[in-house]
């Protein structure tokens, strides 16, 4: 089974208020040496057994749906066990 992980992150120039909120909470944990926290999404996709062009299809999914290119960037990585199966 082909497994693909897509990571979606807000572009660096877009303010990430969730990350800021986490950063703001860190001193309460006693952690004071963190400069920045950014929060994104990890999407795990499992293709059918005999799916073709898994990476290409994943790029389409990421570009057209999972990420909004106006505000987000993404990376696609086909998981190693999927490579073996192919």
């Amino acid at each position: 089974m082909a497994r693909v992980v897509v990571d979606v992150m807000l572009k660096s120039e877009i303010l990430d208020p969730q990350g800021e909120a986490v950063l703001g909470a860190l001193p309460r944990l006693g952690v004071t040496d963190v400069a920045s926290v950014r929060i994104g999404k990890r999407v795990e996709i499992e293709f059918d057994e005999n799916a073709q062009n898994v990476e290409e299809q994943s790029r389409v999914i990421a570009d057209q749906l999972l990420a909004n290119p106006v505000i987000e960037s993404f990376t696609v990585s086909v998981q190693p066990d999927a490579v073996e199966a192919a």
Partner: protein, 227 residues
């Protein structure tokens, strides 16, 4: 015959009934449209209401973009049909690439619901021609993801081409350049975060300023019919 304004109901839409009532109060005939039906039943304009289409899964408006009805709405918008997106409807228009930019989490992370004071920045759109230039209006805002963002080049282009339609007088969400609403190049597609359909009756709204948007589209349509 009064103009027919189609109001789309997506799974999770909240303000479709209010939008229909606003259309009715302003003298239009509201027509219910369904997300899963590509047919828009001969309407003259389309109103995408607020709410949480498809539960805001993934990103607000991201799934609604792929609905049957949006295929037709996109094609109709390209032909000049007036399309208004309010709140979630605005998010759907951005996700559908009918309008540039995106709407993201409010900078302060809090859901904000209170009347918003806005300035009408242009009356040269299908949905704002009935307002006085630079009119100040009040419409309720109620959203968690209403911060308008776009890259600097897009923002500059919007400003230079008179496509910023509404600007907040007290920015409630951190929107870039206080933008509350924008239009496409032709001015037939408009999106804004605050809700005109909640500002149509003194009993339930902070003003009746929202009626001007329906009055505008009616004027726009009758002008088109005269031509």
């Amino acid at each position: 015959m009064s103009a027919r304004i189609g109001i789309v109901t997506f799974p999770g839409s909240l303000d479709d009934r209010d939008a229909a009532r606003a259309a009715y109060l302003a003298g239009a005939e509201p027509v219910a449209l369904w997300h899963d039906d590509a047919h828009i039943h001969g309407v003259d304009a389309v109103y995408l209401p607020g709410g949480f289409s498809y539960g805001d899964a993934l990103r607000c408006g991201a799934i609604a973009r792929f609905s049957q009805v949006m295929e037709t709405v996109k094609a109709a918008a390209a032909q000049g049909m007036p399309v208004l997106g309010v709140c979630n409807g605005f998010q759907v228009l951005c996700e559908s690439h009918l309008l540039p930019g995106a709407l993201v989490r409010n900078a302060h992370l809090r859901y904000r619901n209170r009347p918003a004071r806005l300035r009408v920045e242009t009356t040269r759109t299908a949905w704002t021609n009935a307002y006085a230039p630079d009119a100040e209006v009040v419409m309720p805002a109620k959203h968690g993801e209403g911060r308008y963002v776009a890259d600097e080049a897009t923002l500059d282009a919007l400003e230079q081409n008179g496509r910023v339609v509404f600007r907040y007088l007290d920015n409630p969400n951190g929107s870039m350049r206080d933008i509350a609403g924008i239009a496409n190049e032709a001015g037939n597609v408009v999106g804004l975060m605050p809700h005109p359909e909640h500002a149509v009756e003194a009993l339930t709204g902070p003003s009746t300023d929202g009626l001007g948007m329906i009055a505008s589209v009616l004027a726009h349509l009758s002008e088109g019919a005269r031509r």
